[in-house]
């Protein structure tokens, strides 16, 4: 059962979840906020693909690029308008704000587009498969793996080699001290929201790519997965988020082939059970990061 097909599909699922978790942890690292509106950035990108996709004249890659940029722009806009004014108040205020942003964005598309799901046109290769020996592999899965490799290399470069990236890592550890170096608090926070939004946008392409449709509540499932994956991997570091994403993908696929057919629908229950075990026995996650719990004041 553990064959090439399983491996590629698992790596691909893990890659997608790694990007997903990374986007959530970027913001968490700096603000210590689990951004419940994160799933809505994915939804926004999905609707962008739906709307722009109506126009057949626009090539798919342009559509996708706009969708990704729009997710980043919306993420940045929510930071400016919603999170910045309450940032210095309390963590509770931030969390409540993120719920409000989530519900607000859902309602915007519900009212302006439709409460029901909408089709998202995708390029043909998204539904094609490739045969390697006995293995049948969706091309989409290979694209996910490739995209993830490129993004992880790019992000590693940004975080290790650019001053802004170094400042973001420093700020996740000691926010006030980072400001004492002359790093503007707003710059760092905006940058993390933009990166988080970019990741959400990329994830959206593949998430929406599975069903070729988008609906107002599409963000709920990825948010939950990102949350579970980061709890498993470690909330306090970017590496932990990536590990958590891959572990989630692996556990999920193992459960899928191990569970008897009658129990497949309880797969999520098993995932939650694993999370509870993590919270009980290893609350800091698989990867112990160096970040502290200092709040942004």
């Amino acid at each position: 059962m553990i064959d090439l097909e399983f491996i590629i599909n698992t790596v691909s699922l893990g890659s997608l979840y790694a990007l997903l978790s990374l986007g959530l942890v970027f913001v968490y690292g700096i603000l210590k906020l689990v951004n419940f509106a994160y799933g809505e950035y994915i939804m926004v990108a999905g609707y962008a693909m739906h709307v722009i996709g109506q126009n057949r004249g626009i090539p798919w890659y342009v559509t996708m690029a706009i969708a990704v940029l729009l997710a980043a722009a919306v993420s940045y806009a929510t930071e400016l308008v919603a999170f910045r004014p309450v940032r210095t108040k309390s963590l509770t205020a931030l969390i409540v704000t993120s719920f409000a942003v989530s519900v607000f964005l859902q309602n915007v598309v519900l009212i302006t587009i439709s409460p029901r799901s909408r089709a998202v046109p995708l390029p043909a290769f998204f539904s094609q498969t490739l045969t390697l020996g006995t293995a049948t592999i969706p091309v989409r899965n290979l694209v996910i793996i490739g995209t993830t490799i490129v993004l992880l290399i790019g992000l590693t470069f940004v975080m290790k080699k650019t001053v802004l990236g170094i400042a973001m890592r420093a700020a996740a550890d000691k926010f006030t001290t980072t400001r004492l170096m002359g790093v503007p608090a707003n710059l760092v926070i905006s940058a993390t929201f933009i990166i988080s939004g970019l990741l959400a946008g990329v994830v959206a392409i593949f998430w929406v790519g599975r069903s070729a449709s988008v609906d107002p509540l599409i963000g709920a499932a990825p948010l939950l997965i990102a949350f579970i994956a980061t709890v498993m991997g470690g909330m306090h570091s970017l590496v932990g988020a990536v590990i958590g994403g891959f572990v989630y993908g692996l556990l999920f696929n193992i459960l899928s082939i191990m569970l008897p057919a009658t129990m497949i629908s309880y797969r999520d229950a098993f995932m939650f059970m694993i999370v509870i075990l993590f919270l009980l026995f290893r609350p800091e996650g698989i990867w112990r990061g160096g970040y502290t719990e200092e709040r942004v004041g």
Binding site: A167, D173, L180
Partner: protein
């Protein structure tokens, strides 16, 4: 250069500073002394903008800086070596220094400043690619000082730089601080080690529970205040007596 007037600062309901006034002239080295909890760090936090003062004024080079953000005060030329070093432990020595130079980004200047830091602290060159958290306490203190110097501050403030260091390391740090002063850096030094601090400073302020108890030259301070009673508690622990 720096003038603090009638400064009040509080943490919620606790008022930590009750009208502190002090002055540091260009080229001077000034000590701010006092027992634990006197409000020394609070004074520095107010100057850097980490803490918003409740009342009072802070002017630097003629400009009002009370209520300015920490990122803007460092750009104006005030750099702090925080209490407990506070280096970025998960970042390498190099990354710590690069952030130190954030306020003053100029590739060529960065290189010369870095070479200068290597001269001052050869150990940092050896440990350049190591995580800051892996350095010893004294090495971390050097890194914290180097990091603060990377912004080419006009005023360098140090919060208990000798805290937790061995006597040899303390000697080195004090030597370094007087060296920096001789090179023309203006310094405001907070120290527990009052005897050592008084050896190298031009003037000193003594803070007791949020207000100034005394200010003057080291000799005047030694004459009027029983330093030992300030720091080592003497018989009547944290109380200090001014003999007028």
């Amino acid at each position: 250069m720096l003038t603090v007037q009638n400064l009040y600062a509080s943490y919620g309901a606790i008022t930590a500073l009750h009208g502190v006034s002090l002055e540091v002239a260009e080229g001077e080295i000034v000590a701010l002394l006092g027992i634990n909890g006197a409000g020394k760090s609070t004074t520095l936090k107010s100057i850097t903008g980490v803490l918003r003062p409740v009342r009072g004024s802070i002017t630097f080079l003629g400009e009002e800086i009370a209520n300015k953000s920490p990122e803007s005060t460092v750009k104006k030329g005030i750099s702090l070596v925080p209490e407990g070093r506070d280096i970025f432990g998960s970042l390498t020595v190099e990354e710590n220094l690069r952030l130190g130079a954030f306020a003053n980004r100029d590739r060529a200047r960065y290189k010369t400043d870095l070479d200068e830091m290597f001269q001052l602290f050869p150990i940092l060159k050896e440990r350049f690619h190591q995580a800051g958290g892996l350095l010893s306490g004294g090495e971390q203190q050097m890194l914290a000082i180097a990091r603060a110097l990377m912004s080419r501050p006009k005023l360098l403030m140090l919060d208990e730089p000798s805290l937790g260091l061995s006597p040899t390391m303390t000697d080195q740090i004090f030597e370094l601080i007087s060296g920096l002063h001789e090179r023309g850096t203006t310094i405001l030094l907070v120290e527990q080690n009052a005897e050592r601090a008084l050896e190298i400073v031009d003037r000193a302020y003594l803070l007791t529970t949020g207000s100034l108890e005394f200010s003057g030259t080291p000799d005047e301070l030694r004459r009027k205040v029983d330093i030992a009673s300030v720091y080592f508690g003497g018989e009547d622990d944290d109380h200090c007596e001014v003999q007028l």
